[in-house]
Each structure stands twice: as C-alpha cells, then as structure tokens.
C-alpha cells in the first residue's frame, strides 16, 4: 500500500501549479469563454506535458494511467482552468484507441482541439441512446442528426461523433464512431459560453461527410471506457476546485469581521466548515479509489466511477452552497473569485451523469456483482 505520488507526477503537478499561478488569470478565462481556449495557455499546457501525461508511451505520451489523470486535473481544478483538457482526454483517448495516432500526436503537441459529440436532446446521460443516423454510400459515410451541448465544439478542429449504423435508438449494438472535420459540409453550430467556462455548441449534421473509426459492431465499450476516464478527470478537477474553495472560505472566515470579531470565531460557522472539510476528504478518497480502478474490468471500473461521481456530486453541492452562504453577499458577486469556481464545480453534476444517475447505476452494478 502506497499513497505517495511518484516523483514524475509530483514534478508535473508542481510545475503545472507554478505555471498556472504565474500565467492563468481572468483574461485567459475570458478568452476561453470567447473562443473556447486561450492559445497561450493551451501551448503552455502542451509544453509542460500536461497533454502528454494523459496518454501512454505507446500512444505518444508518457502517462495515461489513472493517477496521471487525477494529478493533472486536480491541479487544473485548483485554479478553475477553463481549457478543454477533458475533451482532449475523452476524444483523444477514443482516437488513440481507434488507431488515429496522427491526430493524437498533434493533440499532444498542442496543435489540435477535439471534442466528442455524443449527447442528444432527450438522451440525457445515457451513452447508448443514439438517434443520429449514419448512412453509407459507396464506402463514404454521411451523418444526419442533432448533437446537443457539445463541449468545445466551437474550437475543435476535429469532432468525434457517435451515430447509429444499425438497430434502434436505444440499442447498445449498432453504435458507430466517426470523425467529422470542423468545416465539413452540412455541419452547423449554435455556439455559446458554458456556465463552467469555455464554449460549447448545438451541432446539427445534415448529410455531413464523416470518416468511420473504431470497431465494426458497436462502439459502446470504447465510449464507456473513455467516459469512465473522463469521469475521473471531472472528479479530480472537482476535488481541486473544492480544495481551492475551502481555502478561500477559510481565508474569509479568518479575515472578515462581523459584530466586532472574525466570523470564523462563530461556532456554528466553524462546525459547518468542519463538515465541508470532511466531505472534501471523502471526495479525495473517492478519486483515489477511481484512479486505482479506472483501467480494471468494466464492472469494477464503473462501480468506482459511479461511486466517485455520486459522492462528488453530493460533496460539490454542499461546497457550492455552503461556501457561498459562509461568504454571504460577496460570494454572490461575479467579481469575487469564488464565482468561477462555484459555477464550474456546479457544472460537474451535469456532465456524464448526476448523483441520481450514478446512484442508480451503482445499485445496478452491485446487484450484478452480488449475483455474479
């Protein structure tokens, strides 16, 4: 049993933290809201090896394991960095698994933006409900459908798309993976800023030319594997954000005076702060559990993914609500730094399944595990 971080990871985390502290601020965040990514920040992340740490040596990176993902995202979370790194992990991981090594190489070098267009109006957090249609004609594929809330679509050079090659909307079989170029014919976007920073879009495809990648039968296992890794990323990022929020709140309790004394001396606030701190440690442990199991067999992996996402969804709600409450009015203002963190942390519950979704899945997997 060993909870210490490897030297490589510690060094990466340290240099990432220093770089962010030096370079990352409101301007970069505004840039991400305007265009999806600040090129200078993105280049710095590539330079530092942040993107390489998400991929194995085979794939052209130098990491790719659960603890690598956890390390990187915890640091990104601490400063609420709004760059599309989760998209790089998610869409990049799928491309790597499908043998698209050129794209992955460009991604690691910082020369590429990616996204995954999977969500559709009405499929909520369900990965295997896909109604976007793929049709083949003379070896060429074309896609038609509506993909909703596609994070980082406006900045992406290449869009990974799920579409149905066979079967019915809800079937697990017959889901194909495709890539679509950003400037492809028949592709239209309704772009917007995201509540947690960065940009997303509604993407409509109308007989849009696409390249098919991935396995012939169904892409569901690949999707599920990479979404589990993305859940790890989101959870680790959430822990980083919660650490930052806790520290800001502690600072505020120490310095802010009311009725003639620091508000941190009021016992009721102290006890709520203690409860918040406990839940954050629980969240950290849930991330460790998931990081240690994200490359295990699917049922075990997803059991930990759901446990982590569920626990972190609850902890995040507590941290969002109580940190604003403990701050009082100032915590409500956009100008004060808490707002970015709070909004981005809140958004975690809306990606890859909320706490109810994952509680349901955890129960289903447990029943499976105990029956098996």
């Amino acid at each position: 049993m060993d909870f210490t971080m490897s030297d490589e990871r510690r060094m990466l985390a340290d240099s990432l933290r220093r770089t962010i502290e030096r370079q990352y601020g409101p301007e970069a965040r505004a840039k991400a809201d305007d265009t999806g990514s600040d090129p200078a920040v993105w280049a710095a992340l590539a330079e530092l090896g942040v993107l390489g740490a998400l991929f194995t040596e085979e794939q052209g990176g130098f990491g790719g394991a659960g603890p690598d993902i956890a390390t990187v995202f915890e640091e990104l979370g601490r400063a609420a960095v709004a760059e599309p790194v989760t998209e790089a992990l998610l869409a990049g991981g799928i491309l790597a698994d499908c043998g698209k090594s050129d794209a992955v190489e460009q991604l690691i070098a910082g020369d590429m933006h990616l996204c995954l267009a999977q969500t559709e109006p009405g499929n909520r957090y369900d990965l295997t409900t896909v109604s976007t249609q793929a049709t083949e004609s003379g070896g060429a594929w074309a896609l038609t459908g509506h993909k909703s809330v596609v994070v980082n679509a406006p900045a992406a050079n290449l869009i990974v798309v799920t579409a149905r090659v066979a079967g019915d909307v809800g079937d697990r079989d017959g889901i194909g993976l495709f890539t679509v170029a950003a400037n492809a014919k028949g592709l239209a976007m309704r772009p917007y800023p995201m509540i947690g920073g960065g940009r997303g879009a509604e993407v409509t495809l109308d007989a849009t030319p696409a390249e098919r990648i991935g396995p012939d039968d169904t892409a569901a296992p690949i999707l599920e594997r990479h979404v589990a890794r993305a859940i790890l990323a989101q959870c680790a990022e959430a822990v980083g954000m919660m650490d930052a929020i806790r520290d800001m709140t502690l600072d505020y309790l120490r310095t802010r005076k009311q009725f003639g004394r620091p508000i941190g001396s009021f016992q009721a606030l102290q006890h709520r702060m203690a409860d918040m701190a406990i839940e954050i440690e629980q969240a950290r442990s849930a991330v460790l559990n998931l990081a240690g199991h994200v490359d295990e067999e699917p049922a075990l992996r997803d059991r930990h993914a759901s446990a982590a996402k569920q626990l972190i969804g609850r902890a995040a709600r507590l941290v969002v609500e109580d940190s604003v409450q403990l701050h009082g009015g100032i915590g409500m203002t956009a100008e004060y730094g808490l707002g970015h963190l709070v909004r981005r942390l809140m958004a975690v519950d809306h990606r890859f399944g909320d706490t109810d979704h994952h509680l349901e899945r955890f129960i289903a997997l447990r029943i499976g595990a105990e029956a098996g």
Binding site: V149, Y192, I195, R317, G328, G329, H357
Partner: protein
C-alpha cells in the same frame, strides 16, 4: 379549527383569479415563468393593472388610498398572484418606505410622497446595506453632516436592488459618529437620485444578472426636510421597516409556482426512456419538497391567523424564513438538475428583455442554473438564515 376558507374568503379568491385571468398579460407571465429579466416598463405595466383594480397597496389603509385587506386576504392575493407567474410588486416604495412614512413621517412628507408612490411617479430603492456590514445592519458608516439647511452625505451603499431604475433612495446614514452604541446616531434620510455626487454602479452576480447595484455618495447635499422622524432615531424606523411586513416571508406563492414549473419540466424531460417525473429518485425528491411545502403553507396560515387575531409574531417568522428558503432553494436545485446537460449553456442574453435569440434546447432550460445561483441569496439577505436561527433559539432558550 377549520383549515378551509370562509365563503367570503373563497369569494375573494375567485375575484383574484378572475382578475388574473383577465388582466395579467401572457407576455408578462411567460417572462416570469421562463425566468427572464423584467424591464422597468414590465413592472410599471403590472403595477398599473393592480392599481386600476385597487390592489397595488393591499396593506395600506384606505385613508392613504390602500386596499386595507385583511391578513388572510393579503395572503390569498399574494399566493394567487405568484402562482399565476405574475411579476412581483416592486416593494421599496409600497411595502417598505410607505409604512415607515405613515408611522413616522411628517404630514407634509405623507401628503407629498405617499400619493407619488401609489401612482408610480417615483421609483424608490433601498439604501440599507453597506460593504462589509453583512447582517450587521447597524454598522452604518455612510455619514450625513448637517450644514445649515442641508445634510452632506458621503459614503457607499450596496445590494441596492433595481437601483438602476430609481428616482429616489431611502438611506440609513450616521448623523452622530460619537454615539455610544452602533444603533444610536443613525438617521433615516430620503435622497433624490438626481442630486449631484451620486453614482450607481451595477454589481454583476454569479448568475450573470445585474439587478443589484452599489450606490456611491460624495458630498451629496440633501435638504433637512428630507429627514424622516427625528435625527439619530433612524434605527427605530429601520427596525420597524424590517419587522413590519413579514407575512410574505415564507414565499409560499413563489414555492408553489416553482414547484408547478418543476413538475411540468420533469414531465417533459426524458430519462432512461421515460419521463423524469417517473424516475423513482427524482419523483422522491419532488414529493419530499411537496410534502414540506404542504406543511409550510399551513404553518404560514397559522401565522397569518395569528396576525389576523392581532398577536405579535414570535419566532415563527424566523422559522418561516428558514423553511421557506430551504424549500425554494431545493426547488431551484431540482429544476437545475431536471434540465440535465442543458443547465450548462450560459447564455444570459436569452434571459434579457425582448430577446430574439435562437433558444438552446427547451425554452425552460435557460433560467434553470442562473435561478439556482441567484436564489442562493434567499438564505443570505433579509437577515441570513444563521441570524434567524439565533433569533429562534434566543426566544426559545430565553438565556
């Protein structure tokens, strides 16, 4: 003991409902239901409809042009109007300043200001909170120094809701910096927002809204006749204002309207191939909050009945503040969760006046996350829930 309304009360409710059916423009109720921001004209339009019917000032005595409704009638009006997604009545002149002037203002002030409030000639805003004061309202640092027939006001107010529309502001100012206790030496002053030296700056909140403002005063000269009551007695008037109108504190109407909206959304959203409202976990959360609301509505009626019987409100209004806040915030939370991934787009332009932007996902989605964020304020302002808990236990413990 009879929980049902009397025939007279039922008749009044029917009258309210008929009024809302006939006179509440769909354009306005749609805006409210979809959580869009209302313009100054929207508020004024709704005020005009109420004024026409005589219900703009339900709690004012008839002598001052009010409707002088009973506590139960006011409760009915409040609940029906909110449940119908009507705009709220802007409270600063009608429910805050008005009662203070009636009780403590001079007859000249009453004769001048009250009709203008009722007629919407002046848009009032509130100058209570100051930066860094939080729930400690008595720590007023804005000063008013008497020079001849004028006070010279310097300082800063904050959290001034809808101050961007205001013609006038009522302010707590410190007139005696030497007073022994912070509650002493405060005066209650009416200030024309067009006076030189006043600057209003919007505060952007975490939901992107710009309803609240900072108001800066530098050497603002205010005629002494704008003082309400006596100099240095302002804290008395301030407390009166804060405790005067509390029957609406539970927000039963808001909660009911919010729950109805949530139910509609949950019946529309799909989850795992069926409506979200049929998902057992989500159904349980909705049922839970509905059960709490059913009980709170009755707690609220009990307090209304006490008020009707002339009893002074005890810690019950603090209890209603807390429980009402918890219920409304839970409904906001569930609404945000209900819209799923569509809580993530953050396009505040969709909530603005006369918006013609292409919607993102279902129309109801745009306001879900912003309202959740914005309503975190409910447990902070008007005496934070922590302050209210203190009041309750202080009364119970009598320590």
């Amino acid at each position: 003991m009879d929980l049902s309304y009397t025939p007279e009360e039922r008749a009044f409710r029917d009258e309210v409902r008929a009024f809302l059916r006939d006179r509440l423009p769909k354009r306005l109720s749609d805006k409210v239901r979809l959580g869009r921001h209302l313009s100054k004209d929207d508020y004024l339009e709704w005020h005009a409809r109420l004024r026409e019917k005589g219900w703009l000032a339900p709690n004012w005595p008839k002598a001052h042009g009010g409707a002088e409704l009973s506590a139960v009638q006011r409760h009915i009006l409040d609940e029906e109007v909110t449940a119908a997604h009507a705009p709220r009545v802007v409270p600063f002149g009608l429910n805050m300043l008005g009662p203070v002037l009636m009780k403590f203002g001079s007859s000249e002030q009453q004769a001048h200001y009250l009709p203008r409030i009722l007629n919407d000639d002046d848009w009032w805003c509130q100058g209570y909170s100051e930066p860094g004061a939080g729930s400690d309202l008595a720590s007023v640092r804005t000063t008013a120094v008497r020079e001849g027939d004028e006070y010279v006001v310097n300082g800063q107010k904050t959290w001034t809701t809808l101050g961007q529309h205001a013609d006038w502001i009522f302010c707590l100012v410190r007139t005696d910096p030497q007073a022994e206790k912070p509650q002493q030496g405060i005066s209650f002053l009416l200030i024309d927002m067009n006076t030189p030296g006043i600057e209003v700056r919007p505060i952007v909140l975490i939901d992107g809204s710009t309803e609240v403002n900072e108001v800066f005063f530098s050497d603002v000269r205010v005629p002494v006749e704008n003082l309400v009551g006596e100099e240095n007695k302002g804290w008395t008037y301030a407390k009166y204002l804060l405790t005067h109108e509390r029957t609406g504190i539970a927000g039963v109407g808001f909660a009911s309207a919010g729950l109805a909206n949530l139910k509609r959304i949950a019946a529309t959203e799909m989850s795992g191939g069926r409506p979200l409202s049929e998902n057992p976990f989500f159904a349980a959360r909705m049922a839970q909050v509905e059960i709490d609301l059913m009980a709170m509505a009755t707690t609220n009626l009990r307090v209304v009945a006490q008020a009707e019987a002339g009893q002074a409100p005890g810690p019950e209004s603090s209890m209603l503040k807390i429980k009402g806040t918890q219920i409304r915030q839970e409904i906001n939370f569930l609404t945000r969760r209900a819209v799923g991934p569509y809580a993530m787009p953050f396009a505040s332009e969709l909530l603005e006046e006369g918006t013609n932007h292409e919607p993102i996902g279902p129309e109801y989605a745009a306001a879900a996350a912003p309202q959740y964020l914005n309503n975190r304020k409910l447990s902070i302002y008007g005496g934070s829930n922590e302050i209210q808990r203190g009041i309750i236990t202080k009364t119970l413990l009598n320590l």
